[in-house]
Symmetry: D2
Subunit: 332 residues, 4 copies
């Protein structure tokens, strides 16, 4: 039984809390939030303790911590958790600043605690199936990867301002997906981007539509396309083209219904957003974390993103940002 | 908060127990099973009382009962629950004997307690969408319904012997679906059937493959096809052809992955069986039961199958059985 | 080079003429029509002779005849062609009268001329693929066949009156498909039918919506559903369920385009009618006829429907008609 | 009736010849080929004259010319045809050299003859439907275009050497598609590419796998991915993402058959190559050419690619080639 302290009682925190409640191998021991009543409400429902951030690790018998608080708190929390010897699952990004993110990884390494990042898409059953198919080698060498990732609606402009920008806030998931599929760090990053969706995003200094091409040393190519708005739901697709074939994952829908008339057949749009699409992925990610921390499986076999990999995806995001300015491919 | 007594700690009972645990509007108050340790195990996990069948309704403060025990116990349990004034959700079939099933409905009616049957497929989101589309009238008059229902593998022959036969045990779900879609009782029933899958089923006096045609007084036709074995998973599909178009529901799959090679594209088989396919349906059915019992929604608006409808589907199954013997269409 | 006399310059005759023109192994030698100007127009375009029906076989050097004139002329034309020793491809049905159809088959047999029926769907690439897959045995024994066949719009009521009725005019194609897939004559036929589409069809003494179940001696079941009207195009589908799996053929569409918005994804309706859906089938059927007549392939290997098989499908249609009246399954 | 001289009796020439034969509004008057027997064979089948290249335009009564000979002959033929006042449909590319291509356009313009390029994909019904949907404005502003184009197998290395390279030989089709969808010339072109398929292609100084990003002045992005080899057939897909939704065109298949077993469902690979996929497109392109030349429709309404557009796509290809070397986005 893994005793877990959850930090952050917001939207993603509540997902983790529900998954902890349903998981027979873990127990929600404490909930921490800057807004203590929010922590209390979530804790009460499961018989857990509610703690303020400064007491975060005072609860006895903790084994692990899930960090789902705002990005600017991650480094401090990782450091304190590492000092207590707790295993860590931290929501992405590790930090908006590459140096501080690297420092977090070092702190955890020195303390000998496992540090994983919440790149939940690795646990989506469809993406996982594609990964296992192409990395398993049955389709031959990977040659071209195409990742499509579009949010249903743009975030509030004030969020955009402190988000770190589209590459580090949104595309970071796709960059991690690329890394996971490629199994190596790309050698160059090119980015094209613009503000086509919401002028307020542009005024906040960011873009809302981007296309990025990653190229490895051997010439394997990966294209990523992002939009902050998508009329037909949360668009999350992947295609890996290999020497011997292709593996694709498409969108999920609420039902399988098709209605046909003289105008044609109408089927469902994509699921609305990540809560629906990645419901199962969050659950499976928690299972993998329990496996890895409990030593039930080699961490590298679980597919969990490590701190080192999180730093790599941040480096890719930073290179994309530089490329957007320079108009040339950049080394990450 | 609805206090529920669950009768039956088997496979379906455990589904109900998990859904009760996750539902904020209901509480599992007691678990009853002929095998008391099974009841105790399930009860313990949720702080409920474990009771032997004879004490089933001794728990205080009960509001409702979910009957998921063997079919031969249904009539007695319905009668006793009705006597206590408890709302009832009973797994199908109400009874293998049409007279006793009718008696159960009368007992509940006299006691003024709501009696619903666990025809869970009505709560499958895809079938529900088809129902709402065609019953809402947007496609014009219903003309032909096609229902495909195939189990992944035949049940043990000894189960077949006491199952009541394919029509009452398996096709009863599809007959209920037909009733729900048609909104009226068919006027004739024709059945063709054979033992093509497993000779042991034939030796037990049953068939394993059947095609049934229901025809209403106005000539609307409904074809149902059943098999006790299906190589590609649990095949559960529906098509409703109307004057102005068609609505179809297909199978669900574990992932959306397609793998393409020179041999073509391979996609997933259907989900394995009802636990996977109807996971969401069981949860939504419980919600509807809570709504109906709590008066939050008119019971007829919830889509729950009533005791009267359960008797109708049993009459259709009995007519199919007679037709199989006579070779002629029979009145239900 | 096969010299062919085409009888009938109507819609289907023109399809045959165009396919003959494009086929390097055949030559349209003569066109015959009761309306001579129609024959002349079609003949002129290809340098063929135009003939009145009474001269139909006077052209020298004829090898074969394609009969695409009205059904009531078939018997006489088959007899005269057989007397001349011409190979015959006759549009369905051979005759509305079972005795006269049988007589046509005998006449051809006595004359030693090959007589094939234009059951063009056997040459649809998708249905052919299903046939070859299931008859090839790779999916194990056939257990249940489902055939869906819906015309886009009902024919004029005056056509209905002389059509021979839905079973012999429309479902005959599906009954032939069933025979071809099953590879044996069913032992019983049950029909349910009604006039749901167009009251004028009912007034003409026919039905427009029908469901038929064929059952073989061993219990294999085949369901056929027909409608004279279909909002979403010409609906032509087939599913063959076998012990080891299933093979399905769906509808074809004009494009592969999907347009997605918040309302979902819209794809094309089915192709409009048989001219579009079976364009390729008519061409492939002609090729098979040339192969069979020229001795290039064993006639039974071409998949062409023989006169004997045409009589079998007529017997099934007649049994369906009797079943509709009796309400019981009938022997064909 | 348009009298057409066809230059080139190779693979594509034969497609044009067959389409001319079947088109009631055009007549194949002459066939020209450096290999005169090839011209004679094609001409004989349709009663046309066979001519050597130097006599190409000596035939009387010519209205138009279709140029399907090798690329290095295009400029000379366009000039001579323009001098005779013939309307021109020229296979792509106009020329490998941008200056000479521009000169061809000028020559035709000065002579006042229409010059169109054989970018046949514009007449593929699915791509046309996407174009008309998004250019019609029903989905709002275009934001991101994704074009996938993969050949089934690499060409011989000696062809590669004189092909002008992947961008001008293969991707030129996709660059034209991008121009046609965008309706404007992109402002920058970035290319990533490598030799991953066949080392012989690398030895010939070319690449076989490429990803290109085009960006317009307003920031609209278009990604193109090419491979010279594709295991699952000829992969030709398009997606246009707009403010209000998306329009997609997928691959076509030989049949609609799906075969399901415990391993899942298998459907067809993509059609083998361009002869199959664009069979209809070549026919519709010829129709459009006849319309445009005959003044039946405004040329700009037919969707035919003009000489000016052909020069634009060549400029994009040249910019891609420069970008591949520089690693930076280039202006076309």
């Amino acid at each position: 039984m893994l005793n877990v302290c959850l930090i952050g009682a917001g939207r993603i925190g509540r997902i983790h809390a529900a998954n902890l409640a349903a998981n027979p191998r873990a127990r929600l021991a404490a909930v921490v939030d800057v807004h203590v009543p929010a922590a209390e409400e979530l804790a009460a429902a499961q018989g857990a303790r509610a703690l303020a951030p400064e007491q975060a690790f005072d609860a006895d018998g903790l084994d692990a911590v899930i960090i789902a608080s705002s990005t600017d708190t991650h480094h401090d929390l990782v450091s304190r958790a590492a000092a207590r010897g707790l295993a860590i699952l931290c929501e992405k990004p590790l930090d908006l600043d590459l140096d501080r993110a690297s420092a977090s990884v070092e702190v955890a390494a020195r303390a000998g605690v496992p540090l994983f990042l919440g790149f939940n898409r690795r646990f989506d059953p469809s993406f996982r199936r594609v990964h296992d198919t192409v990395r398993g080698g049955g389709l031959g060498a990977i040659e071209v990867i195409s990742i499509t990732s579009r949010d249903p609606a743009p975030p509030p402009a004030d969020y955009v301002g402190r988000s770190g920008g589209l590459f580090r806030d949104m595309m970071i998931h796709d960059l991690d997906m690329a890394l996971w599929m490629l199994g190596e760090m790309p050698a160059s990053v090119y980015a094209s981007g613009a503000c086509l969706v919401d002028p307020a995003i542009g005024e906040a200094g960011d873009i809302d539509t981007a296309t990025v091409v990653l190229t490895t040393a051997s010439g394997v190519q990966c294209q990523v396309t992002n939009s902050r708005r998508c009329a037909y739901g949360y668009d999350q697709r992947l295609e890996v083209f290999c020497a011997g074939g292709v593996a694709r994952a498409g969108n999920e829908t609420a039902t399988t219904v098709a209605v046909g008339t003289g105008e044609g057949f109408v089927t469902e749009p994509a699921l609305p957003f990540f809560l629906e699409r990645y419901e199962q992925a969050y659950r499976l990610q928690l299972d993998a974390f329990i496996d890895a921390v409990g030593g039930h499986r080699d961490a590298t076999q679980t597919g969990l993103a490590t701190g080192e990999e999180a730093v790599q995806s941040l480096r890719l995001a930073a290179a994309a940002q530089r490329s957007l300015a320079s108009g040339a491919a950049e080394s990450p």
